[in-house]
Every structure is written in C-alpha cells, then in structure tokens.
Amino acid sequence: MSVILSVTRNELRHLVRSRVALTGLILVALLTFAAALTSNAYQADQAGLRERLQHAADQDFAAQPNRHPHRVVHFGHFAIRPASGLAAMDPGVEAYTGNMIFLEGHRQNSANFGDARQSSLLVRFGQLSPALVLQVIVPLLLVFIGAGMIAGERERGTLRQSLLAGISGGALLSGKALALGLAALAISTPAFGLLLWLGASGGARLSAVGLTTLGYVAYLAFWTLLIIAVSATANRSRSALIGLVGAWAFMVVLVPRVAPEAAAALAPLPTRVETDIAVQRDLRSMGDSHNPNDPYFAAFKQKTLKQYGVTRVEDLPVNYRGLLAIEGEKLTSSLFDRYADQAFGAMEAQGRVMDALAVVSPTVAIRRVSMTLAETDLFAYRRFLEQAEAYRYDLVQRLNRLQATAVTAADDAAKSKNAAAEARSRISADHWQAMPHFDPKRPSAADVVGRAVPALVALLLWLAAGAVFAARAGHRLNRSAA
C-alpha cells in the first residue's frame, strides 16, 4: 500500500511540476467552474421566467369577463414546462424541446419556443454544462496527461529501473491510476459541488444527486483505468496518445452521433402535418357533428334522449349543444392520444436503439444516467406533454359541462343572431377563477431511479472491463521485467 501511495505522490509531484499538465488541469477546472456557474444561472433564470409566464397565463385566464363557456374553450390556456431539479447539471434535451403549449379545445398544439430553434448554429457544438465538461472534455484532458505516464517511463528507461527495484507492475499501475484519478476528481470538483448544492438547496432529490455522482465517478474511473492500461501496454507515448485520442473520438464523439442516424432509419417518425391530416380524416370517418344525418351523432342523440327519458331534444333538462361538445372533445382527444402514443412509441424505439450502443461506448451510458436522473430526458418531456394534454382535456370538458348546465339551450341557439340572448349566454366570471391550475407532478424518485439503473449497470460493467484490462496490463509489466 505504501508503495502505491509513494508512486502516487511522485506522480502528483511530477504533474504539478510539469507546466503543461498543470495549466491544462487548472484551465479545465476553471471551465468546469464556469460551466457550473453559467448553467446554474441560466436554469435559475429560466425557472423564474417560466414561473412568471405560467403565473401570467393563470391570471389572464382568471381575469376573463363573463363569457360563453365555449369562448373560454377557444380562449384556452397555456402550459409552461417547469424547470427540473438537476437541469443545471445536465440540461439534456431541454434546448431541443418546446417549453410552452397553447391549450385549446378541438386541437392539440405543439410545444413551441424551444431554444435550439431560436439559437445560432453554435448550439450544435454542444451546450456548456457541467455534464458536457465531465462527459467530453475531462476524459480528453486525462488522455493528454495520462497517455505518457507509463509509456514515457518506458521510453526514458526508468520503468525497467522501478520494476527491477522491486515495485510490482500492479502497484506501479495502481499508484499512477490513483494519481490520475485524483487529478480527475480535482478538476471535476466544481461539478460535484454544484450537484451537492442542488441537492442541499432542495431543487434535486438526494437519490438523483447520489446516483449521478456515482455515475460520473464510475465514468471517470473507467477512463482513468483505460488510459493507464493503454499507457502500460504501448511501446511509445505517442502511440498510446494516438490510440487513446482515437478511442476518445470514437466513443465520445462518433458513436453518440451515429446512433440517431441508425435509430431514425429503424423507426421513422411522421411529420406533424401528416398527423393533423390523419386526425381530421379519422374524425370525419367516426362522425361529423355538422351533419344532422350522421349515424354516429344520431345514435348519440338517441342514447341521450333515452338516458333522460324524453323524446325531443327541446325537452332535455340540459343544453344539448354542451353535451355534443363533450362528446366531440372525447372523440378528438382519443385520436390525439392515439397518435401521440404512436409518435412517442417510435421515439422510444429509437431511444432503445441508441441506448443499445452503450455496448460500444460508455459515453452513451453516462448520458442516459445523467439525463434520466436530471429529469431532462425524453421521458420527462413526454410526461410534461401528457400532463398538459390531460389538463387541457379536463379544462375543456369542465367548460363543456358548464355549457350543458349553465347556458340554456334557447339562448345558446339564438346567441349569434340576438344580442340579448348573447348576453344571457355569458356565464359568471367566477367559474374561470374556480378552475384548477396546471400543476404538473414530477415522477416518483423510485420511477426515475428505476429507469436509470440499466445504463448505470452498463457503466459499472465498463468500469469492471477497465479494471480487468488494467490488471492484465499490470501482470504483463511484471513479466516484461522478469
């Protein structure tokens, strides 16, 4: 043990003395710090903005004057996506999703005003966040620092001396790995600090903070072991460096980019226009409420009359137009759900294809772990859209029920021709103030953790593979000395 520690001490002393390595470490540590700071400030700003806009939307809705309930259905409401707890650590898909949906009757609108659409092309270089620094930049810096740690000693001849002096290959390797690992931890400290702070300030769950930390530590430990093992195996520092930069480019840059191309080919998505047209077409084939002879709505009428025990629509105790609106919304909404499920089904199939590439790249695994725990993944977005849709449906049906019960059929029929009937068809503004607010629920901690587990296991397997590789490289060092 003391041998390992003395190797570590020597290596660290060497790192601090080497101007290039120290400059690199300090610069990346500063970058991590800047990323943590700006990302946190940006997310806090977004959270404030979104809260303000949601509040403004709630106020606008409640401040409506006396109106016909169907006017309110068209006035609609806005659902704004609240910021998630660990978004400052890993903004995930935040920039690529819309943040605001207009909710209205008969239509399902898209979430609009996502950042990627309104940013310059620079967004495609990656957003500066602690996640980007830890996933992409820190491994490359470790490659630079670590590629020559053992191969360099071999070139200078000091490796043979150490081994002949009785330091085992395993101890040498462990000591160097420990030094590189400590350097990795040191430059990532600002990111881990941010994680802790987010956990402590109550924005994020402790389970998410803990597992995210575990995930990143495992990821960086994998790189540390890989780098040391390659350095111990390579004949020259330069070939170790080239090999490792190649491995980095493949696993960190290439695979995550190729993955979506493969996924898009396997599970194509329809365009929004096609879905809109399909919804309209299906709606026409189900029933046309404009057509008095339409079989679906004729049957609905018979059923309603029977239910109330009357023979004519005029004798109903409620406003039949309101009942029609409820039925119509039920039809359109079931279609929206069906098509949204199809689209998300395809996206999740794409996601599985992309996740499977964790077999060739640990970066794919850490991305999944990090995004899932930060609740900035596709699932979190889907959850927001589905809760917004559920809220929309509930709101519209409440208003439709008001049309059925609080507006008389006679006034409703005459409102577009007669000003007095129009005035009577307006119901009290108190109704709008009594409507529930949009209050999206976060998924349970167990749910979030459960979805992060497979990728976390993949990451730990990568770490184990790295450890095996390093152990074998250590044995080989012993043999080479003998």
Binding site: D60, H74, G126, I137, A249
Partner: protein, 451 residues
C-alpha cells in the same frame, strides 16, 4: 514532379497514414450517405403530404360547398407550405431536424400558427447530425494532426532527419512535396465522397466549388497550425498534445462558451410573451363593441371600410378582422423575436471570424441554406403566403360572395422554392485570415528561434 511521386509512393507505404486516409474516406462516405438518406426522407415526406392534403381539402370542399359560406371555407381550409431541402442540404442538415419543413396555415391569426414545432425526437437531435459538415469541422482536423504532427520530428526521433535532408538537393522541396502529398490525400478523402453526394443530389456547380474552397481553407488552417507547432522543434508527443489541445479549444470550448455568451447577451423572451399577447388580443374582441375591432381593422385595410355594416348577428368578416388585428398588435414582439434570432446568428458569424471551425460550420450551412437565417426566410415566405390567403378570402367575406366548389380551386397555392444559399465570403475570409495570422506568428517566432 518526381519528388511528388516519390513522396506519394512513400506515403502509400506507410501503413498508419494509409489507414488514416482510408478511415477519413470511409467516415466521409458514411456521412454523405446519411445526409442523402435524410434529405430523401424529407423529400419523401413532402411528396407524401401532397395527396393527403388534397384529400383533406376535398373533404372540406364537399362540406362547405353545400352552404357556400366563405367564412367556413376560410376557417376550415388549411393550406400547405413546404421548405424542400436545397441541393446541398445533404452536406449540412443544420436546423432542418428541429424546425418544421412542412407547415399548414389557415387565414386566421398567423402568429398563433407560425411557430408550430415538429414531431421530433429531442434525444436524437441532441448529439447533432452525422453529416459532411460534422466530419469536416470536427474529425478532419484530428486526421490532419495525426498525419502532420510528426512530419519532421518523427524523422528526427527516428534518427533519419540529417541523412534524409542530405540525400535531397533542397530540404524545403522535400518537405514541400511531403506536405503536398499528405494534404492532397486528406483533401481527396473528403472531396471524393462529397463529389458523389453532390452528383446524386444535383448540386449546383458553384456550390460544389464553394464547398471545396471551404474544405481547402479549413484544411490549410490546420496544416499551417501543425507546421507552426512543429517549428517549435519539440518532440512528436508534445506536438500531438499541443495540437489536440488546440483542437479541443477551437471546436468544443470556444463555440460552447460563445453560445452561452450570445444567448445571454441576446435573451429571446419575446417568443413566449408573443404567444400570450396575441391570444389575449384576439379574444378581447368578444368582450368589446364589434365596431372597435372593425375600426382598428379598417385603419390598416381602408378598402373594406365602405362595405355593408355589421348587424347584430355573427358575421365571419368580423371574426377574421379581429384575428388580423390580433396579429397586428403582436407585430412588435414578432419583429423583435425575428430580429433576435437573426442577431444571434450574426454574432455567431462574428465569432466565426476568429474561430475557423465555427466559420467552416456556418459557411457550409449558409451554402446549404440550412442555417437559422434560412429558417427565418421560410417563415417570411409563409408570412407572405398567408397575406395572399387573406387577400384571397377577404373579398368573399366582405362582399358576401358565395364560396362554391370552383372557388376552392382559385385559392392561392404556395410555391415552394428551395432556398438559394449564398457565398459565405466573410466567413471564408475569416478562415484565410486566421490561417495567415497563425502562419505569420509561426514565421516570426521561427525566426526568433533561428537567430
């Protein structure tokens, strides 16, 4: 010439160099094919929508032509617009995967329709596309570094440098030939797959030329940087480390910091506010006297002022008039939003002037018309088309003309025109300037070392 042939033979004998060039060729080929597939997918979607849209309009026609109410026609008929990929889009997909390239609009308020999103998998958009632009901007420099970092230092470390320089008449001719052959190899590895792609996509010749100019300028920057670093006469390892650090800074760190800086300097909150403002403005019409909305409308559309006055009953012309007024009230926010998007793009170009990777990325997307400016241009075309739609429906609405089956055929049609793309002169100039600057610094420092 002999020197070039000799160097070419020498290079082809180096296994690692050949492997590198084959790898770059293969990556470019995959990227070009992926781009062509994506463009074909988008073209197929646009083609698929044509008949679907026609049958949708036919169904509306059947229903509306019974009552011939122009208001129903204007309210229920969607009109399709599309933004087909340009002949170079395969090389740089750009924003086409996060913004719609097909959008349907009605003659109602445009501001509520213009910013509709597309169904897309955000997790697939997040890492970015694997297209020609990506291979050129990110990967090609790594290959340049691989082939050039030890051009001289490698020979020195192998102990061959003196013998090699002594065996040829002029060492500069030797290094010139060696450099040219390697540069040519990399250039061909990038250009050949691109040529095939351009041929398949039918890319205009001037754009092919422009892309080649961009490729040359960008490769030249990295080669000059390698030469400058090599002149410091250090070990191959130190060269490789310095160059890879430069690569990380120029293609990852500077753009990421630039993005944060630009987006916080030009915050775009107008988007979400715009949605709320327009909605509230439109619906206020139901609670104020109809004449107020009509007066506001007549101020911008005096030609309809003297049409039949509104009665007590609902009239579609009032409905469409207050939608127009809502758009006009949101006009300022809308213009600010549009301006903000363009301003962000303009600042990224300024960053490009000093960051060759950014300049190359922007130049290719400019040529391919897949940048935010092209997205805004599509929105502008939709805006113009929407104006046509309004001008088409308003005479029916304001003059109470019946809207029959034949009138549906008279509706304006959106004429899709692939965006032209333009020469990225300033960006290309930026790359050349930075190359000259790095070369100049290297030259000056080299002389200082020599003296």
């Amino acid at each position: 010439m002999n020197a070039l042939l000799r160097e070419a033979r020498f290079l082809l004998g180096l296994k690692s160099a050949v492997a590198a060039m084959v790898a770059l060729f293969a990556l470019t080929a995959v990227a070009v094919s992926a781009g062509l597939v994506e463009v074909a997918r988008q073209e197929a979607a646009i083609a698929r929508i044509g008949p679907q849209q026609a049958s949708d309009v036919a169904a509306v026609t059947d229903w509306v032509s019974q009552g011939k109410d122009p208001g129903n026609a204007a309210y229920y008929t969607f009109h399709a617009t599309s933004d087909p990929p340009s002949d170079l889009a395969f090389a740089a997909i750009g924003t086409r995967d996060v913004s719609p390239y097909v959008l349907r609009v009605r003659a109602l308020g445009l501001e509520a329709q213009l910013y509709e999103g597309e169904i897309g998998n955000p997790e697939a958009a997040l890492p970015g596309r694997f297209d020609f632009a990506f291979v050129l901007v990110y990967l090609a420099p790594l290959f340049v570094i691989l082939l050039f970092h030890d051009l001289r230092s490698g020979e020195r470390e192998a102990g061959r440098l003196r013998a090699l320089e002594a065996s040829v008449g002029a060492p500069s001719a030797l290094w010139g030939a060696r450099l040219t052959v390697r540069a040519l190899g990399l250039f061909l590895a990038l250009a050949l797959p691109f040529f095939v792609g351009a041929f398949v996509a039918g890319t205009a010749l001037w754009k092919v030329g422009a892309v080649l100019a961009v490729v040359l300028a960008y490769l030249a920057f990295w080669i000059v940087l390698c030469m400058v670093v090599a002149r410091a006469a250090r070990s191959s390892l130190a060269n490789a480390m310095t160059l890879a650090a430069a690569w990380m800074t120029l293609t990852l760190i500077v753009p990421a910091i630039g993005h944060v800086a630009i987006n916080s300097a030009i915050p775009l909150r107008q988007g979400m506010e715009l949605g709320q403002t327009q909605r509230t403005a439109v619906h206020r019409a139901w609670d104020i006297p109809k004449s107020e909305s009509m007066d506001a409308f007549f101020r911008t559309h005096p030609q309809w002022r003297n049409t039949a006055p509104l009665g007590e009953a609902f009239h579609w012309k009032w409905y469409f008039a207050f939608h127009q007024v809502g758009d006009e009230l949101a006009g300022d926010l809308s213009r600010q939003y549009r301006q903000g998007v363009l301003e962000r793009a303009a600042w990224s170009e300024r960053l490009g002037l000093v960051t060759p990777g950014v300049a190359t990325q922007l130049a290719l997307h400019r040529l391919a018309a897949t940048d935010p400016a092209a997205q805004i241009a599509y929105q502008d075309r939709i805006r113009a088309f929407h104006g046509e739609l309004r001008r088409f429906y308003y005479p029916y609405l304001f003059e109470d003309r019946p809207f029959g089956r034949a009138d549906f055929a008279r509706a304006p049609e959106y004429r899709a025109a692939p965006a032209a793309g333009s020469w990225p002169v300033a960006l290309l100039g930026g790359v050349v300037l930075m190359t000259a600057l790095v070369g100049g610094i290297g030259f000056v420092r080299g002389r200082r070392v020599a003296s």
